[in-house]
Amino acid sequence: MPVNVQVQTKRDNGEHLVLNMGPQHPSTHGVLRVILELDGEIIVKATPVIGHLHRGLEKLAEHMTYNQIIPLVDRMDYCSPLINNLGYVLAVEKLLGISVPERAQMLRVLLCELTRIQSHLIWLGTHALDIGAMSPLLYMFREREDILDMFEEVWGARMHMAYFRVGGLAADVPQSFLRRAAAFLASFPEKVDIYEGLLTKNPIWKQRTQGVGIINAQDAVALGLSGPSLRASGVNWDLRKNMPYSGYDRFEFTVPVGTRGDVYDRYLVRIEEMRQATRICNQVLTAMPGGPIKAQDPKIVPPEKEQVLTTIEGLIHHFKLMVEGFAVPAGEVYVAVESPRGELGYYIRSNGSARPYRLKVRTPSFVNLESLCKMAQGQMIADIVAIIGSIDIVLGEVDR
């Protein structure tokens, strides 16, 4: 978070104005500071200044047992906590070499896709609000509220659920949740039509977004852009499709791809992703098997409460797991999942103890934000707000 940033204020063609934006600015979606170098109303250079939300998450993780880290990763990307959970538990499971029961896997996919929908909803609402369309936010928060209420029914928490565990889930979902999810999903496509009715053909929306913040496919790949922002530039790359994990290969869905790589295409891609996520959720609900939701491995997965209270082995396992955690064999893995923002990767190096030697999180927002300067160059100053919104950053994830 450097405060004194040196900016070259004079160029060959005359004086440039340096304008500070943020960190306390409503359109930066948190505490992002951008230093804009302007030639009249044209942006010559945009330099993001980050770190205001740095909490030393990776350092903290080195001092925690593997299960204690789960609520920690929730707090990186607070708009899609469960997908953060998923990437993390998949990485630890890979190191441990344990597999997860079918039902747990399916429930994970269902909850992650619902999370994706609510994350895109909050993105769309705030993005539209930034550009000046105030009413869409109210519609999107209505549906987001429905999803958060469902999450509350599952595990008591609405946002930071910390619901996934190494080896499965914390508990089974109530039957009422599955019924409620089915009802929500049945009505959701119509809601997306309403959002599109408000924006897609709206001439003001199109003028503010079409041809703005363009990045071509080659630059996007070189700058490490991922997720919907990359796909809007015409790169057909979705980890759920290309390197499937957690059983995504069993579901049918298409990956929307844009052509122009502007703010409007990034909008279209995310809108279509909400429809595709609904499709995946419906397939999960149809195929939902019964059975256990935790792997049967008492050295890693805590025993059922009844066993803790009635058997000596259960009590010992519970005690040891809660106090010491479980040891993970020495080694290193990198596991990436497709978060609503892009490639979310967890690199864990273990030295055989119950705490990671190093946990590095490759957060998509951090890397995507590097492209801001490229997208903003040559644009009007009013467009910077549209461009920041279209990258869909979450500052908790940028700064960690």
Partner: protein
């Protein structure tokens, strides 16, 4: 992939391992730029996407710098490692993968690893005037200085 790596880089590979279905190669810091450019450009590799770059404090003044590469064309990942010590610098790969800019600054900021040839190697996440490298193993969890 293993064979292609051996064929192309031969004795330049200090180590090649496959564990958990992930391939890791270790190379000398001085060979890194050459190998990285070939990994990006050659048809058998095409690792055009740098997923992640990070450092690890291996104690006793030793650091690993770890690169996670992704080949979208071949749908493969590769981990490249170099080992440096406290006084030496790693070569910057910004010229090969522009996305390395911030991750290298982050590694410099939190671990004190310097990168030769980086265009703007300054602290990224910690505040102005911050002293020390928080992700080093000898740095206390509660920090060395009281919060301002």
């Amino acid at each position: 992939m293993n064979d292609a790596l051996r064929q192309n880089f031969g004795e330049k590979l200090l180590d090649i391992q496959e564990a958990y279905g992930e391939i890791t190669i270790e190379v000398r810091p001085e060979d890194l730029l050459d190998i990285a450019a070939r990994l990006r450009d050659e048809e058998v590799f095409k690792f055009v996407f740098l997923s992640d770059l990070t450092g690890i404090d291996c104690e006793n003044g030793q650091f690993d710098v770890v690169y996670h590469l992704l080949s979208m064309q071949h749908q493969k990942r590769l981990r490249v490692k170099i080992r440096i010590n406290e006084s030496s610098a790693a070569p910057s790969v910004v010229s090969i993968w522009p996305t390395a800019d911030w991750p290298e600054r982050e590694a410099y900021d939190l671990l004190g690893i310097s990168f030769d040839g980086h265009p703007n190697l300054k602290r990224l996440l910690t505040p102005d005037g911050f002293v020390g490298y928080p992700l080093r193993k000898d740095y206390p969890l509660k920090g060395e200085h009281p919060c301002r």
